[in-house]
């Protein structure tokens, strides 16, 4: 047992740092650090650079274009990337649908979809939630009816993150309406260009367009787009959710946010001195930083244990709760750090490259918005209450 990095791991960290220093575009890093919006083009530009290095899909098996990294290497990469201001990986393709295709897909599906994810040709979004199926995901109603070589899909998905950029969507659809809840569900890949699909924006409380509604009206989907067996889609969904949760602790992102908080608190003033020298504020930062230290250690332990024996279990639910609470607490302090300047709503000043008069600081306009936006963390990916139900059932057997 040793928490110090080995010399090989330190060498790997240096390699990652050098890569980020040389390859991460300065404008993108600057946007990330200031909390500005990233365009589709920003994400794609960074993805191409990672792909060229062979580091876009570190979790995949090597034969599909992944890496041989262990848990510690992945952690180092995530942490260094977040510290450098690299955009977070949009997970829907590389970290969500791809693991399902690798685990449950046919050889044809692997050969077709995986290279297109690596190259950035396909941008995936997730078709899970519905207006009537949130935390109770298995109550979903979107229907897929077999008609010869096709399924005819009708229904509505919602909260589709960055669906406006996507050309593919993976969906949970009901193929057997007679079967009990989870049993009649299938996992279907759908081309967004298929006639009958409509994407409508949902503007979130911070004024942002991040999520969408997706409507399906007699959408014809070829049967070869089914992943796994018909009516066994819930197995894929569960597998994916466990994969999703491990990353949901968001340690790298929280550490980056913590650095941002310290920068902001060093610049803002209270009682004629930097806010970070205010005992009360400083103490609150210290509390969160210690919680973050614990969550980082827990992540390493769980991921390391999982890399020995497969998929992480319900422990990742505990981390999802802890990690999201920490991130929310950081955004709360960031909002409070600017006092009354949390109030002005200045969408144009939030954009990168804004050249007008700056009301306070370049970082200030987005802090309240980010605080509200981050309320989503404890809701998505299985709400924190659902995570507690999972722990209660799977670990405690209550």
């Amino acid at each position: 047992m040793d928490i110090h990095y080995s010399s090989e791991q330190l060498a790997f960290r240096d390699e990652v740092r050098e890569f980020l220093t040389n390859e991460l575009p300065a404008d993108i890093a600057s946007k990330v650090k200031l909390g500005k919006h990233l365009s589709k083009e920003d994400h794609q530009r960074w993805q191409k650079i990672l792909s060229a290095k062979g580091w876009y899909a570190p979790g995949w098996p090597v034969e599909h274009g992944g890496t041989t990294w262990g848990a510690v290497e992945k952690h180092i990469f995530d942490e260094e990337s977040a510290a450098a201001g690299a955009p977070r990986t949009i997970p829907f393709g590389v970290n969500m649908v791809a693991p399902v295709i690798i685990k449950f897909g046919t050889e044809e599906q692997k050969a077709h979809y995986l290279p297109r994810i690596l190259s950035g040709e396909d941008w995936w979004c997730q078709g899970y939630s519905e207006p009537g199926a949130g935390s109770d995901l298995a109550s979903l109603k979107t229907r897929a009816v077999r008609d010869g070589d096709h399924y005819i899909v009708n229904g509505q998905k919602t909260w589709t993150t960055l669906g406006q950029h996507a050309n593919w969507i993976f969906c949970l659809v009901r193929t057997d309406p007679e079967a009990q809840q989870q049993r009649g569900i299938s996992f279907l890949l759908i081309d967004m260009a298929t006639p009958g699909i409509t994407v409508r924006p949902i503007i979130t409380l911070d004024g942002d367009h991040e999520v969408n509604e997706v409507f399906f009206d007699d959408v014809k989907v070829p049967v070869e787009n089914l992943v796994g067996e018909e009516n066994k889609g819930w197995t894929c969904a569960k597998y994916l959710l466990t994969h999703e949760r491990t990353g949901l602790a968001g340690i790298g992102a929280s550490k980056a946010a913590m650095r941002h908080l310290k920068r902001v608190a060093s610049k803002q003033q209270k009682n004629g001195k930097p806010l970070i020298e205010d005992t009360l504020f400083r103490t609150q930062i210290a509390q969160i930083e210690m919680q973050l230290m614990a969550a980082e250690m827990s992540t390493l332990r769980i991921v390391a244990a999982a890399s020995e024996g497969g998929v992480p279990g319900a422990e990742s639910s505990i981390l999802k709760v802890q990690g999201t609470e920490i991130r929310q607490a950081i955004t709360n302090l960031l909002r409070k750090a600017i006092g009354p300047y949390a109030l002005p709503f200045l969408p144009e000043e939030m954009e990168y490259g804004y050249e007008g008069e700056v009301l306070l600081e370049d970082y200030s306009p987005s802090l309240a918005s980010i605080y509200f936006n981050m309320r989503k963390l404890s809701i998505f990916g299985g709400s924190n209450e659902i995570q507690k139900n999972i722990v209660s059932k799977m670990i405690l057997e209550l």
Binding site: A286, Q287, A295, L300, Q322, K388
Partner: protein, 376 residues
């Protein structure tokens, strides 16, 4: 970086686990606690016979060269059994201080005994006004004709009532809160000028107040330069207490979970109620945090002294204290009335978990310490 135990470490863990499981039934613990020693001299001897008391000492001094990891494994098992023996105080803390500061003669005289268990030592660092600040020392040490005389009062010396030797911090120079000018002395508690007022502690142990009235002390280390070593070895004590707390929390969570699965109200086991399920999950969540921080502390405990090490050990103690208190309070709450009784084992785990916070700094103390050094 890895989180695996070696084969030797696994064997050590099993040895400690077996020893504790066989000796420490709840009724045995009650007897040990009520005895004059306040712990089991027989269990202490067994620890010595099995080599557990020799674990952290260097091989050339008759030990096994164990590190913070080995200490963690032993302390966790002692925590699981709610053991009363002053292992941390004598072996880890006194032993560590003497190993670092002692002359060859002092090491020869004392360490063999501590490592075998024949000599039980205690450490007196706190005072009435110190409140975990170990450089706030008013006890004085004066030298005359090459011998040292100590005057003052040391507070809540756990294990001090039975100790064969006590290490005492006293000021030989400087102002009352200076880090410099603090020295460590070895005293014989049965010698002239030493008075002990022995008491039981809330968590079933025993300790004493130490009154020094022109008592004789033997200098340990360099005059006036003991504080760095005191801070360093307090860090090792903190790591040990974190591990002990994790062991106790784990058992208390198990006890509480069992209760949720057996106690019936309104016609069902109470573990069926979601509000109680989520509370239990919160307890497990705190336990996970504490476990991670105890591992962190164990891995850093024997690192070279540095501000980063001190800060992370403060973070560990802060998080573990908070978790321990949470688990203790919620465990009592989830049990209801039964956990309010002396005869219920869970209540004693709860008491120890809260009292661990009163040794080497509570959550407020370590929050303040961590915040003060916060790196920008």
């Amino acid at each position: 970086m890895d989180f695996k135990l070696t084969e030797e470490q696994q064997m050590l863990q099993e040895t400690a686990e077996r020893l504790v499981r066989d000796a420490y039934t709840f009724s045995n613990r009650e007897k040990f606690s009520e005895s004059e020693a306040g712990f089991s001299p027989e269990f202490w001897n067994q620890m010595g016979e099995l080599g557990l008391t020799a674990i952290p000492f260097p091989e050339e001094l008759g030990g096994f060269g164990g590190t913070g990891i080995e200490n963690m494994l032993i302390m966790q098992e002692l925590g699981k059994g709610l053991c009363l023996e002053p292992y941390m105080e004598s072996v880890i803390l006194a032993g560590g201080l003497i190993t670092q500061l002692g002359s060859d003669a002092q090491k020869e005289e004392l360490l063999a005994g501590i490592a075998s268990g024949e000599l039980q030592a205690a450490v007196a660092l706190e005072e009435q006004q110190s409140h975990y600040d170990l450089c706030h020392v008013t006890t004085t040490a004066t030298r005359q004709d090459g011998s040292w005389t100590l005057n003052g009062r040391k507070a809540v010396v756990i294990g001090g009532h039975t100790a064969g030797k006590i290490l005492v911090s006293a000021r030989s120079a400087g102002d009352v809160r200076d880090q410099s000018g603090i020295s460590l002395f070895i005293i014989d508690p049965n010698s002239q000028g030493v008075r002990r007022r022995t008491y039981s502690t809330v968590d079933g142990r025993k300790g004493c107040e130490l009154f020094l009235d022109n008592a004789k002390g033997e200098l340990l280390g360099t005059d006036g330069e003991a504080y760095d070593a005191i801070r360093y070895h307090s860090g090792r004590a903190i790591a040990a207490l974190c591990a002990e707390a994790v062991g106790s929390m784990r058992v208390l969570c198990d006890i509480t979970l069992d209760y949720l699965k057996t106690r019936k109200q309104f016609g069902v086991v109470i573990g069926k109620f979601q509000v109680l399920q989520h509370r239990m999950v919160d307890m497990i969540s705190e336990l996970e945090r504490a476990t991670s921080m105890a591992i962190l502390a164990a891995c850093l405990a024997d690192d070279e002294d540095s501000e980063e090490r001190s800060a992370k050990l403060s973070a560990a103690k802060y998080m573990v204290n908070r978790a321990a208190q949470y688990v203790a309070e919620q465990s009592i709450q989830l049990h209801g009335g039964i956990a309010m009784t002396w005869e219920y084992a869970g209540a004693h785990y709860a008491k120890r978990l809260v009292m661990i916070g009163h040794q080497f700094g509570d959550d407020d103390h370590h929050l303040e310490a961590y915040a003060a050094q916060l790196s920008i």
